[in-house]
Point group: C2
Chain length 221, copies 2
DNA sequence: CGCATTCCTGACCAAGCAGTCATAGTGCCA
DNA sequence: TGGCACTATGACTGCTTGGTCAGGAATGCG
């Protein structure tokens, strides 16, 4: 038909991404067991058999969604080194993770559900990567401590705290929304981000870089 | 038969608690949808019909488990007032929550799963209680700030951070275990607790009370 | 046009599920 | 002894589910 000449992607690819989007939403909300292929198909506006045509099994589809999820873990912190400024580096890392919680809450939820279920679908490859990443980051933080750049804080628990307090805004959004009476908007996330940065950086004996400081008009009376 | 004369609880009560324990474990690991009544029955060593005899529906059983879960939220912080010492109060609160994550990880997971699923089973009563609690705690923290006892930190985000970074050790135990290579022991929890306290209290501009300080032999080289 | 590949789908099936029911054992009190 | 309440359970039912299959439509390409 006319009008679609610019889309050189095949109909198959288009359908696949469409299905993946619907699946992402469904899995994030209801978990693997709680999501039926029929529900995903309905959300994607396709017959169930068509979904099974592109992804042979529900497992395959879930694995594909999970793969996207793991891209969440990429960050500029991956490339940090011990000569970097800890305050700047950590603030940016927290900022990145908060932005992830805001813009991709469903992927965060899927990861959380996977962990809660005992992570049966996280393959050894990811585990190794993850462990390797962890060891590298821990070494850098320990170097910063040795150099006297920051307080002595166990790097493992520091990282867990950063993950927890940022992912929380995606995973526990339901709870937060109920307590606030409305969903967190972009400005709320900005405020939450500065608060988390303030807490953790000060907690490490670091000074919050000017760029990440609370802006004037956000001050309490 | 002989031997049971000291147990004045009826066989029914004994079975009920037995079933509840099995259900707690199963729901925490596989969620509501992912748990079959049969599985719970097997874990409890009873025929499925017997489980349904005590709890008419799977929903009922889940609700009963969830009710236990909500007891997690009780804390000595509930009774705090603005004349209390913020450092001492918050340190104790964090300590309590960490202890909950250590001793009742499954209940924490069930709560997390419930929230992730959109909290369809949290009744309005709990929501109201929870909101009321929140408002009370926020007021106290704001008073502390006004009194100059601690830095200006948005109380809401402070509380979220405390919840997140403590519950994390229950909900994400699988991830932590894989990264460490082994489960966290009691001593590890103690260290994690002091680290979280240090981070958050320093983050608020508070001094960690001596009792909650890292002990000497835990120091890094 | 002709053929192959990709795409699409209704009908169907076996398994697992929550929940019902009829039946039966058990302890207790009158 | 009879009756009642509680406890227990195998057999069964109706429904949802993931997945198969056979056949048909669209598309691209020589």
């Amino acid at each position: 038909m006319a009008g679609n000449r610019s889309t050189d992607i095949s109909v198959g690819e288009k359908n696949k991404t469409n299905i993946l989007q619907a699946a992402e939403k469904a899995f994030a909300q209801h978990g693997f067991k709680g999501t039926s292929v029929q529900r995903i198909a309905d959300a994607a506006g396709l017959p169930k058999t068509n979904v099974l045509y592109y992804f042979k099994t529900k497992q395959d589809l879930y694995q594909a969604v999970l793969k996207q999820t793991l891209s969440l873990w990429n960050s500029r912190f991956d490339l940090a080194c011990e000569t970097d400024d800890p305050a700047e580096t950590l603030a940016e890392y927290i900022s990145e993770k908060m932005e992830m919680s805001r813009t991709h809450p469903m992927l965060s939820k899927i990861f959380a559900l996977e962990i809660l279920n005992g992570a049966p679908n996280l393959n050894p490859y990811f585990n190794d990567e993850h462990l390797h990443w962890m060891q590298g980051r821990v070494a850098i933080i320990e170097a910063w401590i040795t150099q006297g750049k920051m307080n002595q804080v166990d790097p493992h628990y520091l990282l867990y705290t950063i993950w927890a307090s940022t992912q929380h805004y995606a995973d526990f959004a339901t709870q937060i929304t109920r307590l606030r009476g409305q969903k967190m908007k972009k400005a709320d996330f900005a405020q939450a981000t500065t608060t988390v940065i303030q807490l953790i950086l000060n907690g490490c004996g670091l000074t919050v870089p000017p760029h990440y400081e609370r802006s004037q008009h956000d001050q309490l009376s």
